[in-house]
Amino acid sequence: MLQHLSEFIQEYGSLILFAGFALLTLGAAVLVVTARRVTHACLSLLPCFIGIAGLYAVMASPVMLAFQLLIYAGGIMVLMLFAIFLLERRAGPITAANHYVFPAGLIAGLTAIAILGALQTESFRNRELRPPPLEMRDRATGEESWYDYYDPQTQTAGEQPSTNLRRTGFYFLTYYLLPFELTSVILVVAMVGAIVIVRREKGWVAAGRMPARSEERGVRSESNGTATAATEGEEEL
């Protein structure tokens, strides 16, 4: 019995892991797009990201697992939550109703079917898609390790870093230096841009409204100092 179980796990272990994480991911994803409150939808992202991180682990990419949890779950999702809380403070609970459910479902379903169908074409099926075997072993000490692995067949003299993490760093600072630097430039630009967009300026943006009505502008310009000071506290986002 135990023997059978062990064999089964050896044979289908990764498939089972995959199925579990996939179910977690998809279930959470459906919640993300259907929850009534935006807060709930946002919180549902968390299990979804955890599931995806698990999938990365199945695909033997510990670096992606770490960054998925760090950046997506720890950074982006929290950022979204902050934004939602800021808005709800002003506008009350925000519902996220769906509309056009049928056409949207139709388009999304069509897309899914089309991609899944494309997966069945010969150019995909004819490939040998087995992953090469892995051996989980720390290269430096030779002990078994869950985060470090290498390929016993191709392991030769230590010319390149062995670990997934080390290799990623190695590639980022050598072959992919330019994309790396460009990405950081984009990141800086995005941060600066975000700050510039939400920055409060004196004038009509600080007033919180477009200068649609001229009499309003007139009033504001007359008593500029007090009006701005009064609105500033009120309009705090």
């Binding site: 388009i107 999304a108 897309t111 089309a114 991609i115 169908g117 494309a118 074409t121 150019s123 995909f124």
Partner: protein
């Protein structure tokens, strides 16, 4: 051996003025508003640091020249003698890789004989003794003039812009001097022309200044045309733009002497324009419309000397055909052309200077005349080479001094430039007077103490040895120099009582008089370096840059082309020079100092004097002649072309047009109405429909766009599915 510390910094020399120029162009106005006239210190700093470097280089080269043991002096065969100096210092970067030249564009001989052009254009700098001396002179004079300008330009509306242009000029001039290849030389050459144009026309509100700037620019273009052709000839034969390579190749089979002569003559055309030699000298006196510091720096000390410098640098190109006695034009060799153009200019400008009343114009004609001296010194081949360059250096100092002094005078007299309205300024402006006197004594060649005497006397001695008629003409020009400078001094400074504008004359501020003093010191002291004899330092220092063609020496002696340090001290030219200067001063004193001769009455009494005065006052009618021939000729040609265009070309076009209208118009109208209009309208309608459809998609809602693009993506994926993925 001195370490080449300063040489390694040489690239900074032209760069710093350029930097100063950029700063002043970009932020000059703002800074001027904030810190006032101190903004000029940027320009001063931009030339002061190069000045330090340049003097460092000079010191290093002097110690290398005199420190190293070498056969110097007068013993041995003087005909064969060449003076050795330290190796030139070179620095170059590749500028534009052109790729190898197709053999088809090279001359047939070059193709076989000379090393192929490697396809790399290099820009770089090259410093030999001549360059080092020029650098030291230019940076020092330029720095003093920049300092002087701080006071002189005070209150000008475009104060920072003036200094920006001056700095740009310094950059260009230093680039020109440092040039190691004809390419860089030409770039500097044109840039100084541009700066000259900008600065002559600095007060462009004055129509006279604007037109003087244009005149200078256009006249210079005439010369530059020849210059460019000369460079092309050299490149075609050598084929390299490197100056040293060109000089080395001169006279070889690849670059035969008759082509050397033609190239030299073409290059000399450029020098004629830039150094204001006859017949292109007309622009320089007009250039005095610019501010006085400009006249001092550009039109006396440096830029106009660029032509002389260039001829000195390439004088091998003149000496080589001289050795072969090849005629270029009207039975003259190219070296003789240089010599005669120089002497004509010297005499012509010297005589004109006597009859001018504008203080700056007198100095301008004096400059032209002195440039003529330098040119004919170079035109005597190796005999006059050092003398010409020596005169160039001394002249730069004392002529800058004279111009700055005249600027000080003009400044003190409230902008008056007419000498006949001045007088008695000696008391009012003592510093200006004494420094001016030093400059004048140097220029007129008063013996023993003043620099001009030593350099000019060397030219005279060389010409006495090589070409006696030229010697006598040169002495006549020297006499004229003394005459007009004496006249200038007596009219401006002599007398007890100031006249007219001079009543309120006052001494200029310190910032203007201190540079005058420093220049005066150099005007006196520089000549001592060039005293003839065994210890002629100038000869030994500059001699290493002189044309070195030892293998032709035997023939060269006959042609009067060689014998570099071998000018024997001769008593005759010395005495004649002293007499010429003395006579000039004496005559000036008689007429304008002691007023023993009443000039108007003399003119009435002796008509030829009146005529001569008229001719000289009108500068031999050069401007009128040029206007009547070249300017009017060009206009007439243009008018003729206009008429041809109007009647002949237009007539043909109109005839064709008329015929076309009659015959084809009917047919064309039918086709136009139905086919062309129909098509156009159809397209327009189709566009309208498509537009209306596309506008419907443009709802402004982001989700519609996403849905639409997703649908398209899904359709593409479906297409992959249906078609089996083979086509991707």
């Amino acid at each position: 051996m001195v370490s080449p510390f300063f040489e390694n910094l040489a690239w900074l020399i032209p760069l710093l003025p350029l930097l100063a120029c950029g700063v002043l162009i970009g932020w000059g106005v703002k800074l001027h508003r904030k810190i006032g006239d101190r903004v000029a210190l940027i320009a001063v700093a931009g030339i002061a640091i190069p000045c330090v470097i340049a003097w460092g280089i000079l010191a290093s080269r002097v110690s290398q020249t005199f420190g190293a043991p070498h056969e110097a002096g007068t013993h041995g065969e003087s005909a064969r003698e060449t003076i050795e100096g330290p190796e030139p210092f070179e620095m170059a970067v590749e500028w534009a890789p052109l790729g190898p030249l197709s053999p088809a564009v090279l001359s047939p001989v070059t193709r076989d004989l000379s090393p192929a052009f490697d396809g790399r254009l290099k820009v770089g700098l090259r410093i030999d003794n001549l360059t080092a001396a020029m650098l030291a002179m230019i940076t020092l004079v330029a720095m003093l003039i920049q300092i002087y300008s701080i006071g002189y330009m005070h209150g000008d509306e475009r104060y920072p812009r003036f200094f920006a242009y001056m700095s740009l000029f310094c950059f260009s001039m230093l680039l020109l001097v440092l040039a190691g290849s004809f390419l860089v030389l030409f770039a500097g050459w044109e840039l100084v022309g541009l700066c000259s144009y900008l600065l002559i026309g600095f007060w462009f509100q004055k129509p006279s200044a604007a037109s003087a700037a244009k005149k200078a620019f256009i006249v210079n273009r005439v010369g530059d045309f020849g210059f460019l052709i000369g460079i092309m000839i050299i490149f075609f034969h050598v084929p390299s733009l490197d100056i040293r390579a060109a000089l080395a190749a001169a006279g070889t089979a690849a670059f035969p002497p008759h082509w050397v002569a033609i190239a030299g003559a073409c290059l000399f055309t450029g020098a004629i324009g830039k150094s204001a030699q006859f017949p292109l000298h007309v622009w320089l006196p007009d250039a005095m419309e610019g501010p006085t510091p400009v006249s001092a720096l550009i039109h006396a000390a440096t830029m106009v000397a660029a032509g002389v410098y260039m001829v000195a640098r390439i004088s091998t190109l003149y000496v080589v055909p001289q050795v072969a006695e090849l005629e270029v034009f009207a039975g003259l060799t190219s070296l003789e052309i240089v010599r005669y153009i120089g002497i004509i200019t010297a005499v012509l400008a010297g005589t004109i200077g006597i009859a001018q009343n504008d203080i700056k114009r007198v100095l301008a004609y004096s400059t032209v005349s002195q440039l003529g001296f330098m040119m004919f010194a170079l035109g005597m081949g190796m005999a006059g080479w050092v003398a010409g360059v020596f005169h160039l250096l001394t002249h730069a100092f004392f002529k800058a001094l004279l111009f700055l002094g005249s600027g000080s005078v003009i400044h003190g007299c409230g902008g008056e430039q007419d000498m006949t309205k001045m007088g008695g300024l000696r008391k009012a402006m003592p510093t200006t007077f004494w420094t001016f006197l030093m400059g004048t004594l140097a220029l007129t060649g008063v013996p023993l103490f003043w620099a001009g005497f030593w350099s000019k006397d060397e030219i005279m001695a060389a010409s006495w040895a090589v070409d006696q008629p030229v010697f006598w003409l040169g002495e006549f020009a020297a006499f004229c120099t003394a005459l007009y400078m004496g006249r200038l001094m007596f009219l401006t400074f002599a007398g007890d009582h100031p006249r007219d504008h001079s009543i309120h004359a006052h001494e200029s501020p310190k910032v203007m008089t201190v540079p005058l003093t420093i220049l005066a010191v150099f005007s006196v002291g520089l000549g001592w370096l060039g005293m003839p004899g065994d210890h002629n330092l100038m000869h030994h220092f500059l001699g290493s840059s002189a044309p070195q063609i030892a293998e032709h020496a035997e023939h060269a002696v006959a042609g009067g082309a060689i014998n570099i340090a071998g000018i024997e001290f001769e008593i005759v030219p010395l005495c004649v020079s002293v007499m010429a200067a003395g006579l000039g001063w004496l005559l000036a004193a008689v007429i304008w100092g002691w007023k023993l001769v009443d000039v108007p009455r003399l003119k009435q009494a002796v008509p030829p004097i009146a005529w001569a005065h008229n001719v000289l006052k009108n500068k031999y009618f050069f401007d009128e002649i040029y206007h009547a021939t070249f300017v009017r000729g060009t206009l007439a040609l243009a008018a003729g072309c206009g008429l041809f265009d109007k009647y002949v070309v237009d007539g043909i076009v109109n005839l064709v047009g008329w015929a076309t209208t009659r015959v084809f118009a009917g047919l064309a109208r039918l086709a136009d109405t139905w086919i062309v209009d129909g098509l156009v309208n159809l397209i327009a309608e189709a566009q309208k429909l498509a537009g209306r459809f596309a506008a419907m998609l443009q709802t402004g809602r982001v989700q519609h766009y996403i849905a639409f693009s997703a649908l398209i993506a899904a359709l593409i994926a479906a297409a992959i599915y249906v078609l089996g993925g083979h086509w991707i």
